[in-house]
Symmetry: C2
């Protein structure tokens, strides 16, 4: 008898990633299609169904060999009903995504928000493998989080658990955040936040710095520039990297006192900085957590990159839809 | 057929509280005995068994009518094995409490740490009734916490989850904490911390204050004095109460962004301050959380007082020992 397949879907504003993954975590295939946002995203559910059906036909897989679809989507969702209240990048408002997809595909569907689904992927096959208590942090344009306790994502009472980018870490004169508050983690430890801290530092003092040379040449700098220069021991860049690490270590210390994780997985573009971020981060994490928490926890970088979402989606299908299609 | 009874036990350094509670939450009886700490606490397990057996006989209850014992104990425990690594107040070191108690009583036993068991009690029959996502905070000599997600206590990988008294809330020039760090929540929002803040304020300025009058009369002040004077609009006391509320609101904002609770239950001596603490606390909590988190959450004071522990213990027996004695 053929393996039962789990389908992972990771919906983004520009592409929809998909994968067929068996219960052991072997990826049979992965592929992507463009996200068609015209007509308020009303073609997306059938685009996904058609693409999956074609792929199943290619592998001679029937519906009875598919457990279901685990899908990550952006925006505000009701995870239980699979209802999307609002997904600005897609154009959905009050859209019954789960129902639409189940109708067009004929297999059960389970939804999760996109940051959480990547965390589940890292737990199953990535940097968090083997751990049941994890904090996953994505440092990109913003700061996203997925908190896993006892092997499952924390949602909280209104699906907002793990929105750690909006923990207040600068209590005095914090920079304004997109959320309307000031001094959020996102304003200092995201790629955008690190760039802002560096521009402030360049403005504030006129010391020589190879980061300043880059700024004068390109007219701008990125978080990547900051870490590259810090790696070359540029004092101004090192100070900025240290500041970003301090705030992140502070937030992770607080989160760890709440959940006592076995692993902290750092992903997103900023995580490519490597040791120039992770070394000071580990020291600050130690400072702001407790010995018995620090000793039980390791900070690691994410492994699955762009595949984390589809892998997490397949894990959700495998784990949560078990009762629907007994293998 | 008689109701199946759950036995809740709450072990403290001076008394052991016990109760017989049925599955519906009706308390048949509650009582206490002294904690006998001689011979390194080696008599405690048999003291508990004897006391319970006497009580069961009084109600003509046989062992088949008892599901088991849920027990809260202080110190460092392994919740799964019921092994106590160290409980300083009791005298235990590497003591197999669960095994000892099961041997002498002949019914299954489940252990939990004392802060968590009180949180479970408030969830079942107290201020958290009906909520499955809770933060319970005990403001006493220290600051204790119990974090409940999806109806269960978070333990984390090494049993340290919820040690929220040691979240860093004062990042500059924080006062030293018993844990060895500085600026922990416990240094500013416990009864001891509030007294310290008030003594500092009295020392720092020489404005007239009815709190100063109390200090000069008694030679000392308590957190209760601070809140009593704040209730009478004493500016110095109000400023201290506001500061303690600010730090607590800051920590609760951070914890809520991690777990998105439906209720925050404030217990312990300091919670008797009432609105003079809860009103500013609610405002600061709003400031440091997010609208969708704040709107879904209410801050309430604990209801069960000293009974929270035995009620939580009985809930543990009822819920976790179900499979052992099917009713």
């Amino acid at each position: 008898m053929a393996e039962i397949m789990n389908i992972g879907v990771d919906l983004g504003g520009t592409t929809i990633k998909m994968a067929l993954i068996d219960d052991a975590g072997s990826i049979l295939d992965k592929w992507a299609i463009a996200t068609n946002t015209i007509d308020n995203g009303s073609h997306i559910a059938s685009d996904i169904s058609l693409s999956i059906e074609k792929k199943l036909a290619q592998y001679h897989l029937g519906q009875s060999e598919v457990r279901g679809i685990g899908m990550g989507a952006p925006g505000f969702l009701d995870m239980e009903t699979g209802f999307v209240y609002k997904a600005v990048n897609i154009g959905w408002e009050n859209y019954p995504l789960k129902d639409e997809l189940e109708r067009s595909m004929g297999v059960p569907v389970i939804l999760e928000n996109d940051a959480n689904i990547a965390a589940l992927g890292e737990m199953w096959l990535g940097a968090g493998k083997g751990a049941k208590n994890l904090i996953c942090v994505t440092l990109g344009t913003g700061v996203g989080g997925g908190i896993i306790c006892n092997g499952d994502i924390l949602h909280g009472v209104s699906g907002m658990a793990g929105e750690i980018g909006h923990m207040t870490v600068v209590t005095r004169d914090g920079a304004p955040c997109n959320c309307g508050k000031r001094g959020c983690l996102e304003t200092v430890s995201s790629a955008t936040g690190i760039r802002r801290l560096a521009l402030e530092a360049l403005d504030y003092n006129d010391s020589e710095s190879i980061l300043r040379d880059i700024f004068e040449e390109k007219g701008d700098i990125t978080a990547e520039d900051v870490f590259n220069c810090a790696r070359k021991k540029d004092p101004l860049s090192s100070a900025v990297a240290d500041k970003a690490a301090n705030y992140l270590g502070y937030a992770l210390g607080a989160i760890s006192i709440v959940t006592n994780p076995e692993k902290i997985v750092i992903g997103g573009g900023v995580s490519h900085a490597g040791s120039v971020l992770l070394n000071p981060l580990t020291e600050y994490f130690k400072k702001y957590s407790l010995p018995r928490i620090f000793d039980a926890c390791s900070i690691v970088t994410a492994k699955l990159s762009n595949d984390a979402g589809v892998i997490g989606g397949a894990w959700l299908a495998k784990t949560k839809l078990k009762q629907v299609h007994p293998a």
